[in-house]
């Protein structure tokens, strides 16, 4: 018989395996190697892009498919850097924690472009903590990577669970709060 604790551990391990930076790093490394001949300055180009988020430079894959109406879908425009399960699928909102979960004071900050006006906005990605991982459907698990970088820039690695700054470091779900226009 499996105890609830075992189930939770298994779920966490499975989620870790699915979403850990190992996979993310390898896929990005592979992509970087493939793309290297065509874009030899990719990391620099991304930095330049971050410095001018309002530029009309080529859109990211995410931006090509972003929408502004359904915040329970991974392609909702504010989620361009979201990595985790959406709180809007777990009884919370796109920028509010579900009841009983606490927002992390430490966050990951990026910019996303609103497809309606083409403007870039500063987004603070906060994890909601203190409850076991939310059991939402697969479509609520996002792995978006705009402005994210793997471990060589740890402050720009969105695989980190930001709950380490909370009283309880248990991860429940992820939010994306708009801070203001990036200008």
């Amino acid at each position: 018989m499996t105890s609830p604790f075992d189930k939770m551990s298994e779920q966490l391990t499975r989620n870790l395996a699915r979403f850990s930076s190992r996979r993310g790093f390898l896929s990005k490394l592979g992509l970087a190697l493939l793309a290297a001949p065509a874009f030899p300055l990719l990391p620099v180009a991304r930095t330049a892009r971050a410095a001018e988020p309002n530029s009309v430079a080529a859109k990211t894959d995410f931006e090509l498919h972003a929408q502004t109406t359904d915040d329970t879908k991974c392609n909702y425009w504010k989620y361009c850097g979201s990595d985790g399960v959406l709180c809007s699928c777990c009884g919370g909102g796109s920028h509010t924690c579900p009841p009983g979960a606490e927002p992390s004071p430490i966050s990951w900050i990026g910019t996303c472009v609103n497809p309606e006006d083409g403007k870039a906005f500063v987004i603070a990605y906060r994890d909601c903590c203190g409850k076991p991982a939310c059991a939402a459907g697969k479509s609520c698990w996002c792995d978006n990577t705009d402005r994210e970088m793997p471990t060589y820039r740890s402050s720009l690695n969105n695989d980190i669970i930001w709950c380490f700054g909370n009283a309880s470091a248990t991860y429940h779900c992820s939010t994306a709060a708009m801070v203001g226009e990036a200008k």
């Binding site: 930095t47 971050a50 410095a51 001018e52 988020p53 004071p105 430490i106 966050s107 990951w108 900050i109 990026g110 910019t111 500063v122 603070a124 820039r153 402050s155 380490f164 700054g165 909370n166 801070v179 203001g180 990036a182 200008k183």
Partner: protein, 134 residues
């Protein structure tokens, strides 16, 4: 060109908080604290030479604006009177000498001791790195 505040948010705000405070024990408070360091010439240099500042993905010009935003806006009344803003040439020179040769924790500890003893800085500066519970 982004505003100093947006550069702060993108490069520092995730950990230090949108307004300069997050978890005081894990991340040093900037709001109403950071200005105390400008009492000491080595404190002024320290803020630029901190590795995460020195190595940040910013141009010298953007980093200068960012630092002045952090010191004068977030630091508020803790900045000593007559403090001059950082200049681009000053920041450019300092960030090329990141503090990699010393223990950051001990360097900060020695500096805040002086600031608390001699410059009436708040003892809250000791919260960062404190392991005891509140």
């Amino acid at each position: 060109m982004l505003s100093p505040r947006v550069n702060y948010l993108l490069n520092c705000g995730g950990c230090h908080g949108l307004t300069g405070t997050s978890n005081s024990r894990l991340v040093p408070d900037l709001k109403d604290h950071v200005g105390f360091f400008l009492n000491l010439p080595e404190g002024r240099r320290y803020l630029v030479r901190l590795p995460n500042v020195a190595f940040s993905m910013t141009t010298d010009e953007a980093l200068t604006g960012l630092l002045n935003y952090v010191v004068f806006t977030l630091g508020g009344a803790t900045v000593p009177k007559d403090t001059k803003p950082y200049t681009v040439s000053e920041v450019s020179e300092l960030r090329r000498r990141p503090l990699t040769e010393v223990s950051l924790a001990r360097t900060r500890q020695a500096m805040i001791q002086t600031l608390i003893d001699q410059y009436h800085a708040t003892s809250d500066l000791r919260l960062y790195g404190a392991t005891d519970q509140p």
